[in-house]
Amino acid sequence: MSRVRVLVGTRKGAFVLTSDGTRKQWDVSGPHFGGWEIYHLKGSPADPNRLYASQSSSWFGQVIQRSDDGGATWQPVGNKFEYAGAVGTHLWYDGTPRPWEFARVWHLEPSPTDRDTVYAGIQDAALFRSTDGGQTWDELAGLRTHKSAPLWQPGAGGLCLHTILLDPAQPGRMFIAISAAGVFGSDDGGATWRPMNRGLRSEQIPDPTAEVGHCVHRIAMHRSRPRVLFMQKHWDVMRSDDGGESWREVSGNLPTDFGFPIDVHAHEPETIYVVPIKSDSEHYPPDGRLRVYRSRTGGHEWEALTQGLPQRDCYVNVLRDAMAVDTLEPCGVYVGTTGGQVYVSADAGDRWAPIVEHLPSVVSVEVQTLP
């Protein structure tokens, strides 16, 4: 029977949750790296026992950890993220130029085909790649040196590159998202980039339809249809049917279209999930009810998924990297909350149950489906 391994990053360490394919009984391992912020962990599709973790601390900075046994043991690897060439400036919150400065790794995206190749999205926003299992990192500087970069400004969480999507059908094609610059795409393995924000509208910036400056929270794709992209923007849920060339709103009947994560069902490319959050100044669910919303029509028409989720007095958030889907049948959906709960639905969202309820605040959730 297949198994699942859920990789949970929290404000105070990493946890590895494992179960068989029924996803009813769980073993919990951790905390790994106790006391450190774990922004993200992710396994290599090419070798599921190869895991990468971003470990950071305000005191001690950034560490990258690697496991070759599915998270049982770890070893620190390279943590030198040095911008390539002239550093230049972006805009600070007060509108003044500020030199790029490394703060942390937000997201690690392993290559689908090579276990030693992994991409890192960092704050201040830039994309790095390692081809030696994380020992050394090189910047793909064409992104940070894009002509629009001096005008990028941080969102409240910092100028972070938080999403990396690798097109499984076309090697070298990739998308990234930055808060608050927007989506950028590359067709040449990250050498050159262009903004892909046409159709986005953000009232919080001087020109609501500007080419860059949008606070994109997350983008997602189904691997069978890499030209269809879904987006949770600061406000608005969007989709693109032309590989990011243009976007249209599909918020439909959501109770609020503010939120952070968005993900796609593993077997139904038009079934997507979001977690509506009340507002950008109130980062908790509307009405104190944690509801995952599912659309089986690729947007517009949404249904609330509530069974097994707290429906009163619930004021947690679900952060942008804290939703994942497994590839079992039926598809499993996972969300982690800032209240320390990780919920699983083993039936594509119909019914939910907590795996753990008292972890530190959850930053990220990934899941691996294992033989």
């Binding site: 450190w36 305000s58 005191w59 001690f60 900075g61 950034q62 560490v63 620190p76 943590n79 030198k80």
Partner: protein
Amino acid sequence: MVRVVLPAHLRTLARTGAEVKVDVAAPVTPGAILDALEAEYPMLRGTIRDQVSHKRRAFLRFFACGEDWSHVPADTTLPEPVALGVEPFMIVGAMAGG
């Protein structure tokens, strides 16, 4: 041998006890101690000072012989008891919550 006391999280990262000993050629300075420490324990690179600028991380302090050596130039010669291993060079995390 110079004795270096590490904060708890760095002991875990380096898989050491509270105190490590490193060979440091004279003159013994904060910079030379960190050079030797990072050579012996490469996983500590970047966790005490920036890997490129060598600027001390803001929430760490360096104490020795009852004095704060955090703000002196990295090539400042430390007191002889540190060089002789009588007194440790202490790397201390700031008292800050979270």
